[in-house]
């Protein structure tokens, strides 16, 4: 690939006009001269003029090429040396900007790579993570650590790490990743010469969202190369998470969080302590102005926690110092968001790391996809309410068992939703639509009550109810009878987690409470049949661990699915996005033992048990494409859309959501284009014109040596010299011919 490292040099392209002007001015200088007879001229003129023209043309070409060579040399072109190109004959990039995002994914990408010059570091203990990394990655990480960003920017001889609070967070909110990419591009500047932008990609949709930024950077900086480290492949992530869950105690991965103890705490003379969820955390030590906590991962205990640092007996006693220390610890611990949670629900089967609104958990890989794919987020004004539209309509034929698309509709005053949008929602339910209503903003409650909940006769939402810090969590209970109304729900939804915040809800008579915290007054999920349709109301935010962690459980997705399928008929057309068709789930010995103890599943159909684990397809039939290597299950490829249950005995170990599009013609209108694979191909297609400068590299393999480019200016200068010589030669040759008698 041919790139210009200094395209400004091409502005001198106007110099090309010089030989052209000489040529054309020479042509126009012909003056008319009468001559007695062309008898003697005619015979020879043609040959002479042809030679003259030939000479002029040759000179024009040579002079143009000469200037072109000089211009190109000024533009400093570089060519990719190709696979065989070695750094010896190539050029290493002047700068490498690696987007080290400190989110939970980033931990996998660059474990132990903290911000340069930071006051805290987070490292995984030597173990599985490190084993999975290639030596090249280790080398790269060491180099990244060693680089001094400020010096690098100044000298342009060493790579730069772009990081910063909030800049490097990867989340499902596209803007965050976009922001990180933007900042990384900004760090490069507009004229970085030869540079590399190393971007980890965990979700190709995020990367696709950054397409415009990348395109602009590639366009503005011809010497820029973009390396997309593909962490988006599910197996890589799964393997990584699986390795986190490896059980042998000596190899158990740990998370070490260290933070500088605030001077004020030190000055107070009190002994600082580390708290996890408000309770003293024993695996921690505070010494020498630093606090360090070691959190064992995958020990099977349920841990949803928040580290904090305090100088007193209780967490709150630390006051502002505590919060500052917490923020510092979080920021410097390899995780960007100050609110850092680790959740190991139910014997470590699911790991949820939640940073802000970022999901990353073993089951939530499917869950995340589930939410993001089947739920279409749209502003109310864009909602295609009309049932006449196929595929994209909300209602479809609703109550008649037809297909409808489930959408998550933000009905928010802040989003400019008007009353008629609510009215349309009500009408939609009336016609047989299924509506899931979530709440997130307190300011929306009045509008919601007035225009949606009361017309639907659901009830009224009230004030925010928050569980007091330190008080024991109130368990969530399920109303099984009510759940059965929805159908296809598991009899035992398992653990439902904890709810920390919710809105008070006063249900109307006839409104079923499916989930509740404490009692009827603590309704979390309410259901109401309304005309031909149905409405489901969440009074808490299941996507936000600050509110609740019931979204961690497979219950919620299953509930959504059931709700959706009940409304949409046989098959939900909204599962119209592709996904990984192979699902890998790790097993631990306990699963197998539990399964064996429980015996075969009580399902009516034939069973297909592998290592005591049974997989069922969305229709409840055994799914047999399951292989096991003793520690992991490899399930798939799937041939059916929907949620596949992975059961151990009577418990649901996990579920695999197959979103692979097989039968549908394409994405419904308005739905995000495809899944990661589609987004990836779409992004790469969009950047195709920068072929050679955009590369996808594997995170498991070497990070790839810096792209070797070959500077072409010496060759161009040589070519210019040759052309100069040629120009003289041609002039001399024609002169010799001219003077010959």
């Amino acid at each position: 690939m041919f790139t210009l490292l200094n395209p400004i040099g091409l502005w001198l392209g106007a110099a090309l006009a010089v030989p052209l002007m000489i040529h054309f001015l020479g042509r126009q200088r012909l003056r008319k001269q009468p001559f007695p007879s062309l008898l003697l001229v005619q015979e020879r003129f043609s040959k002479s003029m042809h030679r003259h023209r030939l000479k002029n043309l040759l000179l024009l070409i040579i002079r143009t090429l000469l200037i072109l060579c000089l211009l190109l040399a000024l533009a400093n072109p570089a060519m990719e040396a190709g696979k065989s190109g070695s750094p010896k004959n190539g050029v290493k990039p002047d700068i490498t900007v690696a987007l080290i995002h400190n989110g939970i994914y980033g931990r996998l990408a660059f474990v132990g790579t903290g911000p340069v010059g930071g006051t805290g570091t987070a490292e995984a203990a030597p173990g599985s993570d490190r084993e999975s990394r290639s030596p090249a990655l280790d080398t790269q990480i060491r180099r990244l650590r060693a680089w001094d960003s400020a010096q690098a920017v100044k000298s342009r001889t060493v790579p730069v790490i772009a990081d910063g609070p909030g800049a490097l967070e990867v989340s499902e909110r596209f803007g965050d990743y976009l922001d990180g990419v933007r900042r990384a591009v900004e760090a490069l500047g507009t004229d970085p010469g030869t540079a590399q932008l190393l971007l980890p990609v965990f979700d190709w949709n995020d990367a696709a969202a950054a397409q415009a930024v990348l395109e602009r950077a590639l366009k503005d900086s011809p010497g820029l190369q973009v390396l997309l480290a593909d962490y988006g492949a599910t197996p890589s992530r799964l393997n990584a998470f699986s390795s986190l869950r490896s059980t042998p105690s000596q190899d158990a991965p740990t998370l070490r969080v260290s933070a500088r103890v605030e001077d004020t705490i030190e000055a107070s003379g009190r002994r600082a302590r580390v708290f996890l969820n408000g309770r003293p955390f024993q695996e921690a030590a505070v010494a020498g102005g630093r606090a360090e906590a070691i959190l064992p991962l995958g020990d099977g205990s349920r841990t949803v926690g928040r580290f904090s640092l305090s100088a007193g007996e209780g967490e709150d006693e630390g006051g502002s110092e505590s919060a500052a220390a917490l923020g510092l610890a979080a920021r410097n611990s390899g995780f960007a968001a100050p609110d850092l949670f680790f959740c190991f629900p139910d014997a470590g089967r699911w790991i949820l790391a939640h940073s802000g609104s970022t999901f990353a958990s073993l089951p939530s890989l499917g869950r995340e996809a589930y939410f993001r794919r089947i739920v279409h987020v749209a502003a109310s004004k864009d909602i295609p309410w009309s049932p006449s539209r196929t595929g994209g309509d909300l209602g479809g034929s609703g109550g008649r068992g037809g297909r409808g698309e489930l959408r998550l509709v933000y009905l928010s005053a802040e989003r400019g939703t008007r009353a008629d949008a609510y009215a349309q929602s009500v009408e939609f339910v009336k016609q047989g639509g299924r509506l899931i209503i979530g709440v997130g903003r307190e300011s929306d409650i009045p509008m919601l009550n007035r225009f949606l909940l009361q017309p639907l006769r659901l009830g009224r939402l009230g004030n925010l109810v928050e569980t007091a810090s330190g008080s024991p969590p109130v368990p969530v209970t399920a109303n099984r009878q009510a759940l059965q109304r929805i159908g296809k729900m598991p009899l035992d939804p398992g653990s439902l987690g904890v709810v920390r915040k919710r809105f008070a809800f006063l249900p109307d008579s006839g409104t079923g409470i499916l989930l509740a915290q404490g009692g009827q007054e603590g309704a979390l999920l309410a259901c109401r049949d309304f005309h031909r349709g149905q409405a489901l109301l969440w009074t808490t935010d299941i996507d936000d661990l600050e509110w609740s962690d019931i979204g961690v459980s497979p219950f919620t997705p299953l509930l959504h699915r059931a709700f959706q399928e009940a409304g949409a008929g046989e098959r939900a057309v909204n599962l119209a996005v592709a996904s990984d068709s192979i699902y890998t789930v790790a097993l631990n010995q306990g699963d197998a033992r539990a399964s064996q103890a429980a015996g075969p599943s009580g399902s009516s159909g034939p069973t297909a048990t592998v290592n005591g684990v049974e997989v069922r397809d969305p229709e409840g039939r055994p799914f047999t494409k399951v292989r096991s290597d003793g520690a992991r299950l490899r399930i798939g490829p799937f041939d059916q859309l929907g949620i596949h249950l992975i059961l151990t005995g009577r418990d649901t170990l996990a579920f695999a959501v197959n979103l692979a599009e097989r039968a549908n013609g394409g994405d419904p209108p308005g739905v995000e284009a495809g899944n990661g694979i589609d987004a990836r191909s779409k992004l790469l297609m969009a950047l195709k014109s920068y072929h050679g400068r955009v590369r996808v590299i594997s995170p498991d393999g070497p990070i790839s040596a810096p792209a070797s480019t070959r500077r072409l200016w010496p060759m161009l200068l040589l070519a210019a010299l040759l052309l100069l010589f040629l120009e003289g030669l041609i002039s001399a040759t024609f002169s010799l011919r001219k003077t010959r008698p």
Binding site: Q33, P36, S37, L39, F45, S48, M49, H52, K738
Partner: protein, 293 residues
């Protein structure tokens, strides 16, 4: 007196009246010469002839009458109707003057007028003809003052016009020539030599002495200077873009070949070939012309 200066084309071009120019040229030509090459041309004894009434008695040879008692008259050569034909090529190309003080036609006119004056002085009949192809004007040979004036007038009014066709000009003229006459052809010879020779052969067939005077401007003999030109044919208006610098050697080479061909053919036909440049003083040109004419 410096004849080169006084009789230079540049000086004479400032004079008005062809007769005056011709006289000056003639005088310059004859100056210092004791024996005019034309002296015996018309006064040379030719033969005796029996006197018949009406003959001029001044030609009676009284000695013969004294001896033989016979009246015989002497006849001289000029009385054998000797004529000088001055044929001028008046094609457009003859109007070319680049590099010289006068055009080729002007130069030819002075030369022709001088010859006419000389012939008149020697009582030879003078005929003037001109044209580019077919003769546009023809004055039959006469020998009187009025005729001379008319001839000079005709020459004076002559303007370059038409496309050169020497074959036609010479052919038509040949039909009007008296045998034994003397013909001077003033032309630039810008035509295919084969056509010129064809015409010359016809003239030569009817004539004793033929002289071809090739009048060329300096720019024609040395070619043009400059780099790139668009040459326009003065006769056909055809244009050609050339690089004069590069074409010059080839042109000169071609011109030499052209001249050589014509010279060779003229030699074969016993036709005198004389090239004059318009910068050459007239008397020198006349001397070259009359030398061994």
């Amino acid at each position: 007196m410096d004849l080169n200066a006084v009789l230079s084309p540049a000086y004479l071009s400032s004079l008005k009246g062809l007769a005056l120019k011709a006289k000056m040229v003639l005088e310059g030509t004859m100056a210092g010469r004791h024996l005019s090459p034309f002296h015996g041309f018309s006064s040379e004894f030719s033969q005796y002839k029996g006197y018949v009434p009406g003959d001029d008695i001044k030609f009676l040879d009284w000695k013969v009458y004294g001896k033989n008692d016979q009246l015989v008259t002497r006849q001289y050569r000029d009385e054998t109707n000797a004529a000088v034909y001055l044929v001028l090529d008046s094609s457009s190309s003859m109007g070319y003057s680049e590099g010289g003080p006068v055009s080729k036609l002007e130069y030819s006119k002075v030369m022709a007028a001088s010859l006419a004056l000389m012939a008149y002085g020697q009582r030879d009949a003078v005929s003037i003809a001109y044209g580019a192809g077919d003769p546009a004007g023809f004055l039959p040979p006469r020998n009187n003052a009025a005729h001379l004036r008319q001839a000079l007038q005709m020459l004076e009014n002559l303007e370059p016009k038409g496309v050169t066709d020497l074959e036609a000009l010479f052919g038509r003229m040949a039909a009007r020539l008296r045998s034994g006459s003397m013909t001077f052809l003033f032309t630039d010879l810008w035509q295919d030599p084969r056509a010129i020779i064809t015409g010359l052969k016809e003239v030569r067939f009817k004539n004793h002495a033929t002289t071809v005077v090739q009048v060329l401007a300096p720019a024609e003999t040395a070619f043009l200077d400059g780099t790139n030109l668009e040459l326009e044919d003065m006769e056909t208006r055809e244009t050609v873009k050339i690089s004069a610098r590069h074409l010059k050697p080839q042109y000169l080479e071609t011109l030499a070949a052209h001249t050589s061909t014509l010279k060779s053919e003229c030699f074969n036909l016993n036709v005198k070939f004389q090239r004059v440049e318009t910068t050459l003083p007239y008397f020198q040109a006349m001397r070259q012309l009359l030398h061994r004419s």
